[in-house]
Amino acid sequence: MAYVVAAYGVAWAIHMIYLFTLGAREKELRQSLETLKALGRE
C-alpha cells in the first residue's frame, strides 16, 4: 500500500513542481510586460 501511495504521490508531486516553474515564469513575464507598459506611459 505504501508503495502505491508513494508512486502516486511522486507522480502528482512532479506535476506540481512543473506547474510551479510555469507559474514562476508566468510571474516573470507579467512583470516584464508591466515594466514595458510603464515605459509606454511615460
Binding site: I14, H15, Y18, L36, L39, G40
Partner: protein, 260 residues
C-alpha cells in the same frame, strides 16, 4: 493614463501571458476531471491483479506517463525539423514546450518504475533494455534543457536546440539496438509474461482513462508553455525595439513572436 491617443491601442496589442486567457480555465478543468476519473479507475475501479496484488495499480500511471512522454519528444523532433526548414519562432516555442513537458512525464515514469520494482522484483533498478533506454532518453533531453540554459543569446537558443533535438532523435534507434545487444549478452531478470496477457477489460479501461487524462494534461501544459514562449519572444523583440528607440513604444512593432 494615455494622453496621446495612440497608446491605448498599443497597449491592447501587448500579448497576454497564458494564465490570463480564457482557454486555460476550460482546458484545465477538463484535464482535472479526466485526471480524477483516471485516478478513481486506477485506484478503486479496476480489479486488483492476482499475482502482483495492489502494486500493479502503479502501472496505471507508470505506462501512460511513458507513452505520453515519448509522444511529447516525438513532437519535439518534428518541431525541430520544422524550425530547421522555416526558422519560425513558433516551431522553437513548440520544441521547448514539448521537451519540458516530455521530461516531466518521463520523470514520472522513471520514478514510479523503481517504486513498483522494489516490492515486486525486490530491487529498485535493473539495467534491463527498456529501463536503460528510457533513462538514456531522459538524460539526453536533460542535456537539451541544459543547452538552452547555458546559451545566453536568445537568438542562438532556437538554432542550437533544433540541431541538438535532431541529433538526440537520431540516437534513439541506435541506442535501442546497442542496449538490446548489450543486454542479451548479460541476461536480465525475467519481468513478465506477454505484456497484455489476459488483461481484464476493466483494467484496460482504467489504462485508457489514464492515457486520455495524461494526453489532455500534456496538451494543456504544452499549450501553456508554448504561449509563454511566444510572449517571451515578443518581449525579446520589443526589448530590442525599445532599446533602439530609447523608450518609445510602437516604433518598431513587430507583432507577437516575430524576431528582428
Amino acid at each position: 493614463m494615455a494622453t496621446n491617443g495612440q497608446l491605448p491601442e498599443e497597449l491592447l496589442r501587448i500579448p497576454q501571458p497564458p494564465a490570463a486567457k480564457n482557454w486555460v480555465r476550460l482546458w484545465a478543468s477538463i484535464t482535472f476531471a479526466l485526471l480524477l476519473l483516471g485516478l478513481y479507475e486506477a485506484l478503486i475501479g479496476a480489479p486488483t491483479e492476482a499475482t502482483m496484488g495492489i502494486y500493479q495499480r502503479i502501472f496505471y500511471f507508470h505506462v501512460p506517463a511513458a507513452m505520453i512522454g515519448f509522444l511529447s519528444f516525438f513532437i519535439n523532433f518534428l518541431a525541430s525539423i520544422w524550425y530547421l526548414l522555416k526558422r519560425s519562432p513558433r516551431a522553437d516555442a513548440l520544441a521547448i514546450a514539448t521537451a519540458e513537458v516530455g521530461l516531466a512525464f518521463l520523470s514520472i515514469n522513471l520514478t514510479t518504475g523503481p517504486i513498483w520494482a522494489k516490492p515486486v522484483w525486490g530491487i529498485w533498478w535493473t539495467w534491463d533494455a527498456r529501463l536503460t533506454l528510457t533513462l538514456i532518453i531522459w538524460v539526453m533531453y536533460v542535456s537539451y534543457i541544459v543547452l538552452r540554459q547555458f546559451t545566453p543569446s536568445a537568438e542562438l537558443q532556437p538554432r542550437l536546440s533544433a540541431a541538438l533535438g535532431i541529433f538526440i532523435f537520431a540516437a534513439v534507434p541506435i541506442d535501442y539496438m546497442a542496449i538490446r545487444w548489450w543486454r542479451t549478452q548479460h541476461p536480465a531478470p525475467v519481468i513478465l509474461g506477454g505484456k497484455n496477457s489476459g488483461l481484464d477489460p476493466h483494467m484496460y479501461f482504467a489504462v485508457l482513462c489514464c492515457e486520455i487524462a495524461f494526453l489532455a494534461l500534456m496538451a494543456t501544459l504544452v499549450r501553456f508553455r508554448y504561449e509563454q514562449e511566444i510572449v517571451k519572444h515578443w518581449l525579446e523583440a520589443r526589448r530590442r525595439g525599445v532599446l533602439l528607440t530609447q523608450g518609445e513604444l510602437g516604433v518598431t512593432d513587430q507583432g507577437p513572436g516575430i524576431r528582428s
